[in-house]
């Protein structure tokens, strides 16, 4: 009945099929024949686990068909966008006892398998009557259409299945919803509010339709961001309250239950402004308008009175009395870290000797400036290595106080610096004895101690090649002739053996 397709074969008996880029025979459509509803649902379940059903949904058709023997079967037709997609669908169908075909219109030929990797072609077209003709290796099936089963109907009419065990391994605590009867709304919200559960609530109205006098219960819907275990357990066991998990963007499935088809994989069948609720305990699938959710806090707090408090009393602004006291130095046990030293000119010779012993860090960080009283040496890192002169410590940024003294009143460093106009570029020094006026010093004119420590020395410049001991360039050799001797050629011996 079928011939294996050869590589580079161009002519085929089945209409509407062509080899794709890999050489696999492919029609416009893929067809999967399932013997039962279980196999049909199982196919969508497994396909949804592996990939998104949205790949095949746009042109998906599910036909209930009947063969010549009268058995009811299901034929799934989808757009065969590529042989990779058809490979996956055919593999899953075979796994569930179905068969995979490819073709277009009414003629479908068996899709490729391990025995013929490039597919099959029918030896001759069948003239049997039927809406679909499926060519297989040993038979040709003529199928008649009974009715079309919309996929959305398949999804909405399938009942959720209870999960075995107590815990759902896929339960996402961050996407839980509570559905409560209208009468339980206030106690439930108050309970959540008292237990500091962040939640948003709204009411659900069933969509219009049906008889006018049929009772349509209203529901309270609560979205909770993170539900503690004890409240989850309580809500699960509480009659009138159901706990749901959000699946995809617009579907809720009751916790402890699972829809036979993976709903995340077929998001396109759900309308945008609707909420689809699949209840397991009530065995119902309900469609609601998308609710408007508000924070629970706004729905719980109540009992406000218009005259809870007396009217506010206006306070007038009073005049501020000026409080100002002069700064003064007072002896105190402060100033552990010496930041600056004022060396009297008489002791500068000692400082010169100290420079030889000073570490490199001190020479690079310390700065000096000549004042009337002596040489001021400042180092932010500390000057403990200089044991001569009057030591100062840093009371505030740019403010230098003699070690053993502090400023009164004890204002903050920022206030003190601002009051004295001290900054990184202007130092303010309080010299001893106590009571002398502070001295302002332009810090930008200070020079690093390391730069002033060395006397001038003359260093001869050597070219690089000389330092390495390599001849730098070839000087030309100028030949000049000296005075010839008397009879220069007399007795010239040209042979060394003569």
């Amino acid at each position: 009945m079928l011939d294996p397709v050869a590589l580079h074969q161009t002519r085929f008996n089945v209409p509407g099929v062509l080899p794709d880029g890999r050489g696999v025979l492919l029609g416009k459509q893929g067809a999967l024949l399932f013997p039962s509803v279980d196999a049909l649902v199982g196919f969508f379940r497994i396909f949804g686990e592996e990939a998104s059903l949205d790949e095949i949904l746009p042109k998906l058709r599910i036909e209930e068909v009947r063969g010549q023997a009268g058995a009811r079967q299901f034929l799934v037709l989808f757009h065969a966008a590529s042989s990779y997609l058809t490979d996956r669908a055919s593999r899953i169908a075979v796994l569930l006892g179905g068969l995979g075909y490819t073709g277009s219109g009414k003629h479908f030929v068996r899709y490729r398998d391990a025995r013929s990797p490039l597919g099959y072609d029918a030896r001759a077209l069948s003239s049997d009557l039927g809406d679909f003709l499926l060519y297989d290796e040993r038979f040709t099936l003529a199928l008649s259409r009974v009715r079309e089963v919309p996929f959305a109907q398949l999804v909405l009419r399938l009942s959720p299945r209870a999960l075995p065990g107590h815990r759902d391994p896929e339960l996402d605590r961050g996407r839980l919803w509570l559905l409560a009867r209208e009468g339980l709304a206030r106690p439930l919200l108050s309970y959540l509010w008292r237990n500091h559960v962040a939640a948003f609530a709204g009411t659900l109205e069933p969509t219009a339709g049906g008889a006018a006098f049929v009772g349509r219960p209203r529901w309270l819907l609560v979205r909770v961001d993170s539900l503690p275990d004890r409240i989850l357990q309580l809500a699960t066991d509480l009659p009138g309250v159901e706990v749901y998990q959000q699946v995809g963007e617009r579907a809720l499935v009751q916790v402890g239950w699972r829809h036979p088809i993976r709903l995340e994989a077929c998001a396109s069948i759900f309308e945008a402004d609707r909420l689809y609720v699949f209840s397991g305990t009530r065995d119902a699938a309900e469609v609601f308008d998308q609710p408007a959710l508000v924070p629970v806090q706004g729905l719980v707090e109540r009992g406000f009175q218009l005259d809870e408090r007396a009217p506010p009393v206006a306070q007038s602004r009073a005049a501020l009395e000026q409080i100002s006291v002069p700064l003064r130095l007072s002896p105190s046990e402060v100033g552990a870290k010496v930041t600056a030293v004022l060396v009297p000119w008489a002791r500068v010779a000692w400082l010169r000797k100290l420079v030889y012993a000073a570490p490199q860090r001190l020479l690079s960080s310390a700065k000096v400036m000549a004042l009337t009283e002596g040489l001021l040496v400042v180092a932010e890192d500390g000057l403990a290595a200089v044991p001569i002169g009057q030591p100062f410590w840093r009371a505030a940024p740019g403010v230098l106080l003699p070690v053993g003294h502090r400023i009164e009143p004890a204002v903050s460093e920022a206030v003190l610096s601002e009051h004295l106009g001290a900054s990184a570029s202007r130092l303010v020094l309080f010299p001893l004895p106590v009571g002398r006026a502070p001295v302002g010093i332009d810090a930008t004119s200070m020079v690093p101690l390391g730069r002033t420590a060395l006397e001038a020395i003359e260093v001869p410049t050597e070219s690089a090649s000389r330092l390495l001991g390599v001849a730098d360039r070839v000087e030309p050799v100028l030949v000049q002739h000296g005075k010839p001797g008397l009879f220069p050629l007399w007795g010239f011996r040209s042979d060394e053996g003569e």
């Binding site: 001991g469 030309p476 050799v477 100028l478 030949v479 000049q480 000296g482 007795g491 060394e496």
Partner: protein
């Protein structure tokens, strides 16, 4: 010791090593040479000469020792000194002057250097020969004219310039080129270059041609080869091909020089690889574009240089064995070899393959 050889080191050898003024005295004969060799330890200027030669050798060998003044150095100095003396003589092929020329060529005929240090020590002296320059003065006056070669004219000849209508022409003569023009003196230059293979290697010229049979073995020494490659590439690959390809092809036709031919071919390929690596990687067309720019307006010899690389690459002398460790590098070099082959044409490459195979003998590996 004769009066004209007392200052031999300071007057001749030191200027050759350091540059400056070389003073020529009377020709030095075999007796003088024996005497110089015998008393060489007592000659003035030995320390200065040794330091100057060490500095030149240090360009090649970082740990060069200070060379001692040996008999070979004295012979080289004598040959250059006599060459300068001979250059002011009018006739070189008769009488005692011819004998002096023959002796000078003979005295510079030395055994090959024993090691790199001896090679560099000889080069330190012979290299000065390339820059030998002489200032000549031609004086014309109302009663006649007179030429002074390497001498200053006497002051009396230049006096009263206006009255005596004195006219003075000063010219600079390159003695190396002048010596090559006289057959008797050319033999001295050839002997000196043969005694110092490194000098010829560093500065190949069309005339006298590079003598690769004697000097190729030094290209297998990394320290020497490194400086030679640097000097050659500083001149540019096309310029150097013009002076190297003919000696290389001549070497292939020499019997019993297969080792030297293989070394010289490998070094020639090494130059090409260095030149290729100095540019970003290209495909065959990109390399070909550069090669056409190189050889535009050049002689066939230069083009043959690139063909020689393609031929060497086909017989296994074109690239080191471990080049394949870097696939991208190997692709770039293969593209370059293909571009070289396309530049000269496959027929010429096959001819050159035969030439290289005959010259390098058992060193050839045909894939």
């Amino acid at each position: 010791m004769a009066a004209h050889t007392e200052g031999f080191v300071a007057d001749v050898l030191v200027p050759l090593a350091t540059g400056g003024t070389l003073t020529v005295h009377d020709p030095i004969d075999a007796d003088d040479v024996d005497e110089l060799i015998e008393h060489r330890a007592a000659l003035a200027g030995i320390a200065e000469l040794a330091e100057a030669r060490r500095r030149i050798a240090a360009r090649f060998l970082y740990t060069a020792e200070t060379p001692a003044l040996d008999a070979d150095s004295i012979r080289i100095g004598v040959a250059i000194h006599n060459l300068c003396w001979l250059l002011v003589q009018k006739k070189h092929d008769i009488g005692v002057v011819a004998r002096i020329a023959a002796y000078s060529a003979r005295v510079a005929t030395l055994e090959p250097p024993v090691d790199e240090e001896a090679l560099c020590a000889r080069h330190a002296l012979v290299d000065g020969m390339r820059t030998l320059t002489r200032h000549d003065v031609h004086v014309r006056f109302w009663a006649g004219e007179q030429t002074f070669l390497g001498e200053q004219p006497p002051h009396r000849l230049l006096r009263w310039q206006t009255v005596r209508r004195v006219h003075e022409d000063r010219t600079e003569t390159k003695l190396f080129d002048e010596a090559l023009g006289v057959p008797a003196l050319r033999a001295i230059v050839a002997s000196l270059l043969a005694a110092s293979p490194l000098t010829g290697l560093l500065f190949p010229r069309p005339e006298p041609p590079l003598e690769l049979q004697r000097s190729a073995r030094w290209l297998a020494t990394p320290a020497i080869a490194r400086v030679v490659a640097d000097t050659w590439l500083a001149r540019g690959l096309p310029a150097i091909e013009a002076d190297v390809v003919e000696p290389l092809i001549a070497l292939y036709n020499v019997e019993r020089a297969k080792d030297e031919a293989a070394i010289a071919t490998s070094f020639h390929s090494h130059l090409h690889l260095l030149d290729v690596l100095a540019r970003p990687p290209r495909d065959v067309e990109g390399h070909l574009q550069i090669l056409r720019g190189y050889t535009k307006g050049m002689t066939r010899t230069v083009t043959d240089g690139f063909g020689l690389y393609a031929a060497a690459d086909r017989v296994g002398l074109g690239r080191p064995a471990d080049l394949g460790l870097d696939a991208a590098l190997e692709r770039n070099v293969s593209a370059y070899a293909d571009a070289c082959a396309e530049l000269v044409g496959n027929r010429r490459v096959l001819e050159l393959v035969g030439l290289v195979s005959r010259g390098a003998g058992e060193h050839v590996r045909v894939a």
